[in-house]
Symmetry: C2
Subunit: 225 residues, 2 copies
């Protein structure tokens, strides 16, 4: 029997690549998405398509409500998603403690599945400024997860795998293309229209557009402006 | 303006005492409970009553579904809640990564509220064997929360307060009585009947009964057997 891994899958380019990488390493992949009240809910449908296309054993959409306290342009309609050039410091699209919550749920599911590996598509190169994407946070979470679960008494630990941590967006795209990822299934936009077409202007779109250009790979994204 | 704190409130004896302690320290208290699919949902009503009685500014019940993967007698109807004497090692009532998930949500809410203090009723003396109640986990979480939020860039940290960590159940009860906690509002049982009456036999009931006896305080709990 293959080893199991839980893969955090957003429906975007990065986490789709992570799923392909985990699969290529021989893991049976259990994918997890979050319906958290995000503005860009079309990513949830994308996540389901990606999980199926890349052969996940089971795909789980966890419903939580981060909109009840807001605090981010992605979870509060009163806050607008800025164009990429407006960003400085920690962006308004940062969702408080989001990856902390996502990784905590992944740890819970992993514990029940008997999985010791968790994969997440955080990245430090084409860098968003989100504190919960940095290596020090990921390392610290790994230790906290060990101490807060059966792992500590049983003498093992979770591995929080972040295989994109040191790759540029172009390198991520080249890696995914080599592994057969269909990026036409993915969506990265923070501010898509009702048909799921991307804005082409937000920070996430800008990084994605530049990545395809630099990788020399045709951009399969549908834009609405 | 008083400082704000987020208090994890289960509806049980310990967290009610924690809320009273936080209030006595001058915090404006924002209480948070979780409807996670637990067998003992009557604790949610208790939490609301306790929050009101002890003057919480706002009480928030967060709905999450830990029943979708089970793995605990509290979240899987196929697993029975054992009587206290059956327990050894990490008990079957341990819910995988529960406090990790609860603290992660508390961190998210605290970040939006501008609160730097989080209170949790974990305890090492009358000890359940749950890994996510131990001081090393709490300390590690505190550092992970700092690294995964705005705190790291702004140069401060969350304080995860566990004021019951080194108290016996009897000491907790005496402390709460001194602070005016009405323990008749609380419920600790893992296996209550449909009217919210306690079983008197599970590990949680056994600790509670012994605590009232040792504290010399009349036990206000309603039992069904």
């Amino acid at each position: 029997m293959n080893k199991r891994a839980v893969i955090l899958l957003s429906g975007g380019l990065d986490s789709a690549t992570v799923l392909a990488i985990a699969g290529s390493e021989g893991f049976d992949c259990y994918t997890m998405s979050f319906d958290y009240g995000q503005r860009h809910r079309c990513e949830l449908e994308a996540a389901g398509r990606i999980a199926a296309a890349l052969g996940a054993v089971k795909h789980n959409t966890v419903k939580i409500d981060l909109r009840q306290w807001g605090g981010s342009a992605l979870t509060d309609d009163a806050l607008a998603v800025p164009d990429a050039e407006d960003s400085h410091g920690i962006p308004i699209t940062y969702v408080p403690a989001r990856n902390l919550i996502f990784l905590s749920f992944a740890t819970a599911w992993a514990e029940v599945l008997g999985a010791r590996d968790i994969f997440i598509g955080v990245n430090s190169v084409d860098y968003s400024g989100y504190p919960d994407c940095r290596p020090k946070f990921i390392e610290s979470f790994q230790e906290t997860a060990r101490l807060g679960t059966c792992a500590v008494d049983e003498g093992w630990h979770y591995s929080i795998n972040a295989p994109l941590q040191n790759l540029s967006k172009a390198e991520i795209i080249r890696r995914g293309v080599a592994l057969g990822v269909d990026y036409g299934l993915t969506t990265s936009c923070y501010n898509p229209d009702s048909e799921g077409r991307s804005c082409g202007k937000c920070a996430s779109c800008s990084l994605r557009i530049a990545g395809f250009r630099e990788a020399g790979v045709p951009d399969p994204t549908r834009y609405h402006r």
